[in-house]
């Protein structure tokens, strides 16, 4: 699919064709994506791929009925069929009494570093080279380290969004990724797996660091130590905290969850819900943030807002639909990412309230000082089983892995199979300290955070 296709022009053509049917409102979303990827699997380079896709989704509103249809075939006959499908879907649907309207046009947010021509023009040779550098750096640290998955990739994505209220927007994005997940094997001993990656909007990733870091950690995981059940000071590294938050706190601040009456925080705006050390933003404008954009997936300008400011709950995350139910403005969180079944492309999906970049304001101390502050506790790198958490109550019960024991301010070894159990909404009140080692992932820009009195259960 040539990148020269002007998807905004194509969008205008489709919107014009829809208007002949006189729906009350209509919207066209288009996405072009080129994905180049080198995969490492089961210890080996396994596949190199280059895929491209262009598709569009049409939302029409007839009275208070909504219909949606999509395709990745771009020809006159299919476009006509998709429009008819959207209209027939709307006609067959039931009235949505809460429906007010699609978004009205507003000026875009100014956001830096969303597109880097160096990524768009990255050769497949260079991507293979990046994965190779990560792999070789890993092997140079220690031959006992084996990659389970990983690789390097680049994504170039073009979005356009148009609606009958005059929204007409176009944006280009790039993303580059390099990462490895590894185990270490020594005789019969096999460590739990651990991963390291870098992801950015600019060609600014360091494969060598990724390979060395993950290898060193895998080797550290070979040294097992015992631990007792009890309450401890616990540091949650970024992967652990975002996993737990995704299935608890962040679910509970999405407006659709709040409006369905299930959120623990429903009536707590303006109240203290966390330690005053904790400030959390959802920032769709963060420079070079992976989920940053000039506008969200329904054309609303991206925004930066505190969810928690110094422990106080400030706002929920709204898309256009949930915002209008409360007669307020969308917070720019209308994102096309939630598929009911299987893997679906953005153009196949309707926007729903979803996080952009979750940012934790960093503290002043280094990660080593954060560890040094702990007399008896754990550093939890990641967790397994977070999806079994209860977003309504905040209860979590997960396996902490990888997990390191901290004694007198120093890491003494790895602990296997330790469970972390408790209530996330109580834990958030027990923040001990926040480090300054900010790291960026797909939805999370944050440092390590330590918590007091966390229940850890040894097997």
């Amino acid at each position: 699919m040539p990148e020269q296709i002007d998807i905004l022009d194509l969008g205008k053509k489709i919107l014009n064709l829809i208007e002949r049917y006189n729906p009350n409102e209509a919207e066209v979303y288009l996405n072009y994506k080129r994905y180049t990827n080198v995969t490492i699997k089961s210890g080996e380079f396994s596949e190199a791929s280059s895929t491209s896709d262009l598709g569009f989704g049409v939302r029409v509103i007839i009275g208070k009925k909504l219909g949606f249809a999509y395709s990745n075939k771009i020809d006159d006959e299919t476009i006509e069929a998709v429009i008819k499908n959207a209209i027939s879907a709307a006609k067959a649907s039931k009235d949505d009494e809460k429906w007010k309207s699609l978004p009205l046009p507003k000026e875009d947010s100014k956001v830096e570093d969303l597109y880097d021509p160096n990524i768009a023009n990255l050769s497949s040779e260079k991507i293979v080279e990046m994965a190779g550098e990560a792999y070789n750096s890993m092997k140079n640290v220690d031959h006992r380290v084996i990659p389970i998955w990983g690789g390097a990739s680049s994504i170039v994505s073009h979005n356009a969004i148009l609606n009958t209220h005059g929204i007409e927007k176009f944006d280009k994005h790039t993303v580059v990724f390099v990462g490895l997940a590894t185990i270490a094997k020594d005789g019969d001993k096999v460590t739990p797996y651990t991963s390291e990656f870098e992801i950015d909007r600019k060609l600014n990733v360091n494969p060598k660091r990724v390979g060395e870091e993950v290898a060193k950690r895998s080797i550290e995981l070979l040294k097992g130590v015992k631990a007792e059940t009890g309450e401890y000071d616990v540091i949650l590294a970024q992967d652990a905290l975002i996993s737990l938050w995704n299935f608890t706190f962040l679910e509970s601040v999405k407006a659709d969850f709040v409006q369905s009456g299930r959120s623990h925080f429903a009536d707590k705006i303006g109240e203290v819900i966390a330690s005053d050390k904790l400030s959390v933003l959802d920032d769709g404008t963060y420079p070079a943030g992976i989920r940053s954009s000039h506008f969200d997936d329904e054309g609303v300008p991206s925004q930066k807002k505190y969810i928690i400011e110094k422990g106080v709950l400030k706002t929920f995350l709204y898309d256009n639909y949930t915002a209008k139910i409360e007669d307020r403005e969308s917070t720019g969180n209308g994102i096309r990412s939630q598929a009911a079944v299987g893997t679906m492309e953005t153009y196949m999906l309707l926007p729903k309230p979803e996080v952009t970049n979750i940012v934790i304001e960093p503290g002043k101390i280094s990660k080593d000082d954060l560890i040094a502050e702990i007399k008896n506790g754990f550093l939890v790198w990641d967790v397994q089983g977070a999806h079994s958490s209860n977003p309504e109550s905040g209860e979590v019960s997960v396996v902490a892995t990888p997990c390191f024991k901290i004694e007198n301010g120093e890491i003494t070894g790895a602990v296997y199979g330790m469970m972390l159990s408790g209530n996330m909404y109580e834990m958030m009140k027990k923040v001990k300290d926040i480090a300054n080692n900010v790291r960026k992932s797909e939805t999370f820009i944050a440092p390590w955070v330590s918590f007091s009195n966390i229940k850890m259960i040894s097997k």
């Binding site: 190199a48 896709d53 249809a69 709307a90 792999y135 389970i148 369905s260 196949m348």
Partner: protein, 473 residues
Amino acid sequence: MIDILEKGLDYAKEIGVQFADLRGEKRQTTLIDTRNGNVESVNQGIEGGVAIRVLADGMWGFASISKIDYATLRDAIDSAFRMAKVASKMKMQPVELAEVKPVDDKVKIKPDIDPRDVSIEEKIGILMTLNDKLYEFDDVKSCIISYADIVAAQYYFNTDGTRIEQDKIYVWSRISATARKGDIVATAREEVGSNRGFKIWKIRTPESVAELMGKRLMNQLKAKAPKGGAFPAVLGPEVVGVFTHEAFGHLAEADLAVSGAVTLSKIGQKIASDVVTIADDGTIEGGFGSYKYDDEGVPAQKTILVNKGYITSLLYDREHAMKLKRILEKMAPSLIDTFNLKPTGNARAENIRVSPIIRMRNTYIEPGDSSFEELLEGIKFGYYLKAFRGGQANLNGTFQVGIQEAYEIVNGEIGEPVRNASISGNTLETLLKVDAVGKDFELSVGRCGKGQTAFIGDGGPHIRVKEILIGGT
């Protein structure tokens, strides 16, 4: 489509690939989401494209396109070829493919009822009936339903000479409901699915699904928490299915086995008690994971993974059948003649944007000869675990399965209902503790996630386990 694919294969041979395959697809999808009686979305999709896989210099290259014409296809073949060549410099062990006999076949499905012939109004009506019937039970607080139907025409052509056209139909729904009474929250989940057409809704009527789920919720509201600890247990077919799939099936996938799953060191050995025979079967009539050919053109078949306690095969695609053979040549040459190393037809791709990987089909324990009463007999105190709520397993062989419907067993009789139980343990240890297998058999509908989503079936008879770790949540 056919002409373009033929020309594409000619071109691939011309530029000197070792092997290439092309998967063309045209697909129509209808998706409906409802929440508490409101229709949240009605979505109709039309998709198409071609997946291109090329083997060059021992490395896989892949590309996919949504515009189906020869010029676009040729460019994509070039791109996949170049990707493979570039990456092959990093390849340590070149990919080899196990031989399979080329196939020329057209698989036409005559749907019992074509979902495209059913109006959206009627589909919404069924979901609304289910919703309304469920709300007739007291204390039901939410009901979320996702419905999907997919009709696809698929083409698989490769440079070995295989030419397959194959239709696929899926009608699927997931229903999640919660009930609340005071502080007690009960949840129930159910899936309905068929790969033959829309008639499934006449068999599993919305009324009967609502009845099943409503009763399950009501039972849980009055249920008590389980005692934690190791107890004898009888597992119902649904729980046997998810245990067999999650705890054992994934370990038997050859790609995971070579990544370090515990099965690799157990090949040919006894890993379960004598009464346990486990199969992964792509040929069961009506099984949600059944199909005639996989996405490498290999015929689906019944693969016995464990025969009377002994592990006899893993699940393979063409690459991993060969890879495992090479490993056994070094590790245990004596097993090469007895252990199955032929491709089993388990290569499946979710769509044309990805390459096929090893996936299960219908995975189950074979029925034995005990009646349900015989299984309960002699259990002084234990648990009957009837329906599951989710499960997961690790490569090291540990598993955890959440249970949404369970009962105490007291002196060989079914007793009071139990809420929020879970079972966990080591898969192989648990398989060795199975001491009786029922003569009944049931297969359920499910989905499996492994980076890609696949529709699968799983099940078995009732089985008895001497001892299993029961936990609350």
